[in-house]
């Protein structure tokens, strides 16, 4: 099958998806979680239904701003506050208990000081640079070609952009937050993205050794040979992630969702971003060479 004929279609799809993401990013930005901004998350489970307005008012009465309240399940609520002291947590729990006259259980209390966020951003950048760099080196070394390595890494960036863009959108619609688990998902996705790309590259290399031919033909053949495997493998991963998103509970829901978006994008980007880039690069290189040789002759 001549996959490479539809390169413009693939490019359009990628541009539309990334375009929506970049638009969301510019318009709404990312919702950063307490890991990055500092602040406090207090999650309670009440023994019966309560009014979030009353509960928030009660906290505000203590002189503490309530940034937001979210329902996280049966009578469980997550209060987002600025960075508070240990005493404040006790005061809030006490006040809520008294006001609502219900049993309340503290499910989770996260309190992150203002110094942590900037450090985490730096460490995140280090982690991304190191892993992306090592993956690039590995691919370049394996395939002895900068063309292969760069196309794979560009596909990787494509996936990161898709993921970040979708989270800007998810943040706006469903209040999905960027926390360190999101970063973890992104790093994992970088490797998934390359995983599939390597499988296709491997086929190109194998056929090149045995039969030879133009890179265009080799790429078409390799895509035909690997398409079913690539889809099937993604399906099994997607099954697990869907189960986690729907049933795995609130804590890992958005982590699994980030992995989900990344898996879909990573599966798409190997045949439809990395390989077309590789083939196009090769074509341009050949054209430049033939122009040069024509000039030499004349």
């Amino acid at each position: 099958m001549n996959w490479m004929r539809y390169r413009l279609v693939y490019l359009t799809i990628s541009l539309v998806v990334i375009g929506v993401g970049v638009f969301s990013l510019l318009k709404w930005g990312l919702r950063l979680g307490v890991d990055f901004t500092g602040g406090s998350n207090l999650e309670y489970k009440f023994s019966q239904n309560i009014s979030t307005e009353v509960a928030s008012q009660e906290i505000e009465n203590l002189g503490i701003n309530v940034t937001s309240v979210q329902s996280t399940g049966d009578n469980s609520y997550l209060f987002k506050l600025p960075y508070i002291s240990q005493d404040d947590e006790e005061k809030i729990t006490g006040a809520l208990k008294e006001k609502t006259k219900t049993d309340i259980t503290l499910l989770r209390f996260e309190n992150v000081g203002p110094a942590i966020g900037p450090e985490l951003i730096k460490k995140t950048i280090y982690a991304i640079v190191i892993s992306a760099g090592m993956i690039l080196l590995w691919v370049a070394y394996q395939f002895k070609s900068i063309k292969f390595g760069t196309s794979a890494v560009l596909a990787m960036f494509h996936d990161s952009l898709v993921l970040i863009g979708s989270y800007a959108l998810f943040g706006h619609i469903w209040k999905a937050e960027i926390d360190f688990l999101f970063v973890t998902a992104m790093l994992t996705i970088l490797s998934f993205s390359v995983h599939d790309t390597i499988v296709v590259y491997d086929r190109i290399r194998e056929t090149q050794r045995k039969v030879g031919g133009s890179l265009m033909d080799l790429a078409n053949k390799a895509l035909t040979q690997t398409m079913v495997r690539s889809l099937n493998n993604s399906f099994t991963i997607i099954f697990m992630l869907t189960a986690l998103i729907l049933l795995g509970g609130t804590t890992v829901k958005w982590f699994a969702a980030a992995l989900f978006v990344g898996t879909v994008s990573g599966t798409y980007s190997s045949p439809f971003v990395a390989v077309p880039l590789l083939v196009t690069w090769d074509e341009i290189e050949k054209k430049v060479k033939s122009i040069k040789s024509m000039r030499k002759k004349s």
Partner: protein
């Protein structure tokens, strides 16, 4: 018996052992057939081997992280501004030691206390599993260490301790030295000039008596005064091992170099949320697994069945390994495990797709061998990228420029282990299953 069949039997035995390890400790068995009622609890015995001098005790329980078992993760920042640059390392290990002692007072089973340095800031990470009164723990940990010297008053049973005015503030430092005559490790004390005067008086009054040293009100050492000591330098000698001497010096320094610490981050997860998370993950895992198993059978028929057997063996081996190592299981760690279940069939899919192509050209048995051989390159190359990322996320060497977080480390470790084991089950296990399976078909 063929070679493949032998290997298969070895794999099955391994799986049985792993199954035994990975089973929960207690399994209730309730069968109610007409006439017979069985209501028993099967308890898996712990490993208890005594063989001469070697004794192995191991209880195969899963180790749960803070987010699943409930507990607090606390980060303290140490204020080292009052301490000279060259003494800071000593000071920070003193803080760590003091915190460890205080946490032990709380009866926490396995507290994890680590120092991390990033851009000149010294942090102490404290993990307290299952502590309910976190506030008390934080207050206790946050207090500055207080060292005092005491005198022993009275005789016999009526001995009491009387605190003196010689405190950690009068102590400049404590270092481990080697006694010049005996060559044994000892701890040398250096006092400030004011401290030297107080110490001279104190030793003068107490020759031949012990001079207990208390840190946070707890006895750390009670050396007996040999003579009146002037000049502000003293040595505590005794039958110390080197480690004991070092430990004593650290404790004395903790009092001599008081470091205020401040709580900068706290993450507490209640036990309720943890057990709910476990239930939710198990449910998600079972649903996901069934979907993957069905998918493989629908896509590849009998071959899919072989992949499913390999996948179940994968699950059993992985769980057993978590218990053996042991891996601290966190919520993202479970997600990593489930993700690796989805990925584990990848090598089988790769091989089976290859097999479909090769079968057109070769007899079935050769096609199988060729597919396994050729697919290996792709599988190896592709998985290395994921292992690289897992390494950076797990940060096993504790590089300070990378983030270390328990849950994320849990994810990276389970993902990496999953990839490793899936290479074994996806290739070795399913290959031998197929070899036996196909050969029997031939004959």
């Amino acid at each position: 018996m063929s070679n493949a069949a032998k290997k298969l039997i070895a794999i099955l035995l391994l799986t049985l052992v792993a199954l035994f390890i990975s089973l929960p400790k207690e399994i209730p068995i309730k069968i109610n057939l007409i006439g017979t009622k069985i209501d028993k609890t099967f308890t898996r015995p712990d490993l208890n081997i005594n063989f001469g001098k070697v004794s192995i005790h191991k209880n195969f329980d899963l180790v749960l992280g803070l987010d699943l078992a409930g507990g607090s993760h606390l980060v303290f920042e140490a204020d080292l501004s009052g301490i000279e640059a060259e003494r800071r390392e000593t000071a920070i290990s003193g803080v760590r030691n003091v915190i460890e002692r205080r946490v032990n007072l709380f009866g926490v089973s396995e507290p994890n206390i680590q120092i991390s340095t990033f851009e000149g800031k010294e942090r102490i990470n404290v993990e307290l599993p299952g502590v309910n009164n976190t506030k008390d723990a934080i207050n206790l940990i946050g207090r500055v260490a207080f060292l005092t010297f005491a005198e022993v008053e009275g005789e016999g049973d009526k001995q009491t301790l009387k605190l003196t005015n010689l405190t950690g503030a009068d102590l400049k430092s404590a270092t481990v030295v080697f006694d010049q005559t005996t060559g044994k490790p000892a701890v040398s004390l250096e006092f400030t000039s004011e401290g030297a005067n107080k110490f001279e008086d104190l030793t003068g009054k107490n020759v031949g008596k012990p001079l207990p040293i208390l840190l946070d009100g707890q006895l750390v050492s009670a050396p007996v005064v040999q003579e009146k000591i002037s000049g502000g330098n003293a040595q505590i000698t005794g039958t110390f091992t080197l480690d004991e001497a070092k430990n004593l010096a650290i404790q004395l320094n903790a009092g001599a170099l008081p470091v205020p610490v401040k709580l900068v981050e706290q993450r507490t997860v209640g036990a309720t949320l943890g057990s709910e998370s476990i239930k939710a993950s198990v449910k998600a895992g079972i649903v996901g697994l069934v979907m993957v198993l069905l998918f493989m059978i629908l896509s590849y028929g009998k071959l899919g069945l072989v992949a499913d057997v390999a996948l179940i063996i994968f699950g059993i081996l992985t769980l057993a390994l978590y218990k053996l190592i042991p891996v601290v299981l966190t919520l993202p760690g479970i997600a990593g495990f489930l993700l690796s279940v989805g990925m584990a069939v990848d090598s089988n899919i790769l091989i089976f797709e290859r097999f479909k192509e090769e079968r057109k050209r070769r007899p079935i048995y050769d096609a199988l061998e060729v597919s396994f051989g050729r697919a290996w390159d792709s599988i190896r190359d592709a998985n290395i990228a994921t292992l690289v990322t897992a390494f950076i996320l797990a940060n096993p060497l504790d590089w300070s420029f990378l983030h270390t977080s328990g849950p994320v480390r849990g994810f990276a470790i389970t993902l990496a282990l999953g990839i490793g084991i899936s290479l074994f089950t996806g290739i070795v296990v399913s290959r031998n299953l197929l070899r036996v399976f196909i050969k029997e078909k031939k004959s």
